[in-house]
Subunit: 606 residues, 2 copies
């Protein structure tokens, strides 16, 4: 078996489950037959996962609560002070080669499949979401630069981020423009030397200031003025905290200043900042304005930024999964050891007490958590597998299919875990009873940390608009149809097996049919406003169908295999199909009649 | 109109809504025709509500965040130190006569109807749940003593609590016995003088230690040894922190010591303690053991304690309502003023931005909150009205009916607000976006404070067991049938009106029928274990039916009246019936088939 004492006691994730998903279901070893991943093998993958768990347990988990209690402060000379353990953990991660892992050899990486890299990353977010935030923003920023910036910029900014010397941010929101990027007012003015001078204020910038590395590269959306209003006028710039000389050495201070730290409900260890660009505090090269470097073409900023945003959205989902997962394992361990009450029907008050896992309602709360977190994990790893397909599948049709599926699944990969792994954390508190409400146990912090995930990188509502307004419609609904086909294929294969898989397949097919009809109804509706009014409900209903599909996938893989692990998979699938999936029925009813309750309302009535 | 500038800006509760419920729906003024309440009038009720709002705004709300940031600590000589504002607020409350308000004249009270007293109390919990906790525990303890203790004990302990000089607690749980009272081990031994000596450890004791008054009277469940095992062997004792001499003066220190403070996710301003009774720190009257005084008969402790527990359960529900309500009003105010984005379909990016309340999904989140919090408020005030009926209805049949309805509604009055007003707080955070996740806004604290309410005074699961296992069955289901009759009566009256009320009535009747059939199916099931396995689902389904009924009640009252307020009532009812009530359908399906998913499970599979 794959469990070891350390793994059993860490309660961060289940390695057995990760192995199941990676090897038995997603067949990641098959990737090693492709040239991009040919140096890899099941052994290298397992080594990465072993290392990740060990490092997460030893370096990241121990300061998770301390980071919550002692949040970042602005210290002397305006420098942001973090607890020392953050730097130690980050240094160990970088030294282990994990920051570069999925990058090309040219950048010192090892071309690790994104699927395995994602599985690795889950250990760290489960152990300490806040500390991990600094690392993941840097690698996502580097990914964007590698994809969109010219070679000189990649060398100057991306390479040091991959090496772990620089860090990165994404600067989109502004105080008066949160979800509405069309309204950003930060300006960038072209200079004679081809650089830009950037002026404006950015809000909600995670990891926006700290002293963890030599530099911070801000990826900033700003207007150049010449390319129109709304989102069409927006370009993307790299704005380093310190200018970088042509030889790569650190130059003078750029005019990017910390205007304030936000103090949050959770996720407190990651600085969240208000940043001023070009407010005149510093005068790089003797002139006013923060020096910025255009990435891609003028007016194409949002398209470039979406490279990072899509990655970040799936990262939000995976962060939510890991917090949900560790909360589940902790409440499971508690339920197995905490003695309280007697089995239902036991009349003798002096009979021995039983572990609370014997109580039906505690089991319900555990099965619910398991169904949410393992269903979400499947979705996240499936998406990561699509990223690998996109990069390495031998024929274009397969790469195109992967791109399409990833596109339509991204809002769900962001929102389902953010909603339901948070619900899992809520249940983990409840299983702990009064103890779960105290700060002596981890679960209340997991809840607070996880609450962020419905808000950042596009709120829940924004994901609903994206899914129903764009993703299921683009290219005449091609991506949506591909997804439907994939789900039907799974149902078909489950129908071919006797017993429960066939029963679940029928339940899934019924909802796939409803999803298709609902989507067509909304697409054809003459009343576009009413059709879009319940897009969050649509997001949630489709999320449940997708997760049911991925549970059926797991049931098919587990078919014919009998041990505790596979029995657990079947039990959680059963729970999801019988307790969760049916909630979509009234959501589809509501959607199909284009309910106008929210529209036929005067704000003054509230 | 009844609104004034102070009311409009407090964002604690809606006075207009309280007036609607008290006067237009529950007709509290009718109570003044009964001898018990004959000195009262609409004017005295309104004066109490005016005073309550003012006091809550001026004395309780201002230190709500400070109490969260600076939680109680154990200071010099083991004394618990609270921020000074707590004492000031409590003194003002007592000085205003509110602590005694609903008590008899004999205790310095003004016989305020419980319905009005409950409405008054909501202002304070909305403003500061933690500070209010000290007051409410004292009055609930005094209520118990007045009902069950002899005259001397009432004089010695209850009277000073009503006067605001003493405070009180309820001591049920122990470290190894949380929800399972049958397992408590605290012992009480009869002495020659008729007093008892109490020894044991109590856990999760709210307001268990502080210096707010002269004394703290702990109401303690303990075993006397002679009356059997399980819950039958439990008796109730008053155990004062300081002994009280026969002349009422404060005597020596009793052997009740603070063993520790719990540090919680929220509700931080109320001390939550581990208390040691009779551990030998003090030796009152020169002997070992904490001096305790039996309340009621030996072995009858739980029955007495339920007097306080039932009151506390409804208080938990009303606390949850008030936190949900203030969060709703704050997110509503934010949504009306925060500009972001444009109306759906607006193509011109330079058109003016709109308040976010114009977005359908924000309206959905506001209507959901309104439907939860006003529905819950209706339930709490309805229950309070039943308490008044129980005490003052002219004929026994009416008093009996009130007692029955209150009995069956108590688990729902505790659990629906605890679950759904918490969900409202979650939505209030979401409406605020990133700001809602910061500690600069109130809503994240409301969430954390409110999260307690699903745990204490009987967890959510315990309420489900109580409802399905006991409350709907006792006396051959008489209370349940009375409730069903009341609901059908409302539906019938709504059917008599044209248009929407009749439509909603039909939707409600359909679910009443399902509730009845489900309840019968479960009662008759031969597989008792399976019938009880989903009692939490039953609790939630019945909760939604009850709240739908109370929304229909409001719609009937509002029928024919047209202004913003009544239109808002109709909109929220519409939301609840179309978005919320249908979720019961699959819950009833699950219940009727006695789903065994949670039972047919080996814990090792998880």
């Amino acid at each position: 078996m794959t469990t070891t004492p350390v793994r059993q006691t860490s309660h961060l994730l289940s390695r057995r489950d990760l192995d199941f998903m990676l090897y038995e279901w997603l067949h990641v070893v098959d990737l090693t037959t492709r040239s991009r991943f040919q140096e890899h093998s099941a052994e290298t993958f397992s080594a990465v996962l072993d290392l990740s768990e060990q490092l997460a347990v030893r370096k990241f988990a121990p300061h998770n609560r301390e980071g919550d209690l002692r949040e970042p402060v602005v210290g002397s000379e305006g420098r942001v002070e973090l607890i020392p353990a953050v730097r130690e953990a980050i240094d160990a991660y970088i030294a282990a080669g994990l920051q570069a892992a999925s990058f090309d050899h040219a950048y010192g990486g090892m071309r690790l499949p994104v699927t395995v890299q994602k599985a690795s990353s889950l250990w760290f977010t489960a152990a300490n979401a806040s500390t991990t935030g600094y690392l993941f923003l840097a690698s996502a920023a580097a990914n964007l630069l590698v994809a969109h910036a010219d070679a000189d910029m990649v060398d100057r900014y991306a390479r040091p981020m991959i090496e772990g010397r620089f860090f990165g941010t994404m600067c989109l929101s502004e105080p008066e423009a949160g979800s509405s990027l069309a309204d950003i007012t930060t300006r960038a003015k072209l200079q004679d030397d081809g650089t830009y001078r950037v002026r404006g204020t950015k809000m909600w910038i995670s990891a926006g200031d700290h002293e963890l590395g030599e530099n911070i590269i801000h990826l900033v959306l700003a207007r150049t003025g010449g390319t129109g209003s709304g989102i069409k006028g927006i370009s993307l710039f790299a704005v380093p905290k310190y200018l970088v000389e042509s030889d790569g050495s650190i130059g003078e201070r750029n005019d990017v200043v910390l205007l304030g730290l936000n103090h949050k409900m959770g996720n407190r260890g990651t600085t969240n900042t208000v940043l001023g660009f070009g407010d005149g505090t510093h005068r790089p090269r003797g002139e006013a304005g923060a020096v910025g470097y255009l990435i891609g073409a003028e007016g194409n900023g949002l398209a470039c930024m979406f490279h990072m945003m899509n990655e970040a959205r799936i990262a939000v989902g995976s962060g939510a999964v890991s917090l949900g997962y560790t909360g589940y394992l902790k409440s499971l361990a508690y339920a197995k050891t905490r003695l309280q009450g007697r089995r239902a029907g036991e009349q003798n008050p002096s009979s021995p007490r039983v572990p609370i896992i014997e109580h039906a309602d505690v089991r319900r709360m555990l099965l619910a958590q398991k169904s949410y977190v393992e269903g979400s994990l499947a979705l996240i790893l499936y998406c990561a597998r699509l990223v690998d397909e996109q990069a390495s599948a031998p024929d274009e049709a397969e790469r195109d299919r992967a791109r399409m599926l990833l596109d339509v699944l991204t809002p769900i990969a962001k929102s389902f875990p953010a909603q339901w792994c948070l619900a899992a954390n809520d249940l983990a508190i409840q299983v702990h009873g009064g103890y779960g409400y105290t700060r002596d146990f981890d679960v209340e912090q997991h809840y607070r940390d996880n609450r962020l995930n419905q808000i950042h990188e596009g709120t829940h509502g924004v994901q609903g608009l994206d899914l129903l307004g764009r993703k299921v419609r683009v290219n005449g609904g091609r991506a949506f149809r591909m997804l439907i086909d994939s789900m039907r294929q799974t149902a078909l294969s489950a129908r071919g097996r006797d017993g429960e898989p066939a029963v679940l397949a029928e339940l899934l097919e019924r909802r796939i049919d409803r999803l298709v009809v609902t989507t067509e109804t909304l697409s054809r509706s003459a009343d576009r406003e009413a059709a879009m009014a319940n897009s969050s409900v649509y997001l949630e209903a489709m999320g449940h169908v997708v997760i049911a599909w991925l549970w059926l996938e797991q049931v098919v893989v587990a078919a014919g295999k009998v041990d505790d692990f596979y029995n657990g998979k079947r039990a959680a699938a059963r729970y999801f199909f019988h307790y969760e999936l049916p909630r979509t029925d009234h959501q589809f009813d509501l959607l199909c009649r284009c309910d106008r309750t929210t529209l036929d309302l005067d704000p003054e009535w509230l």
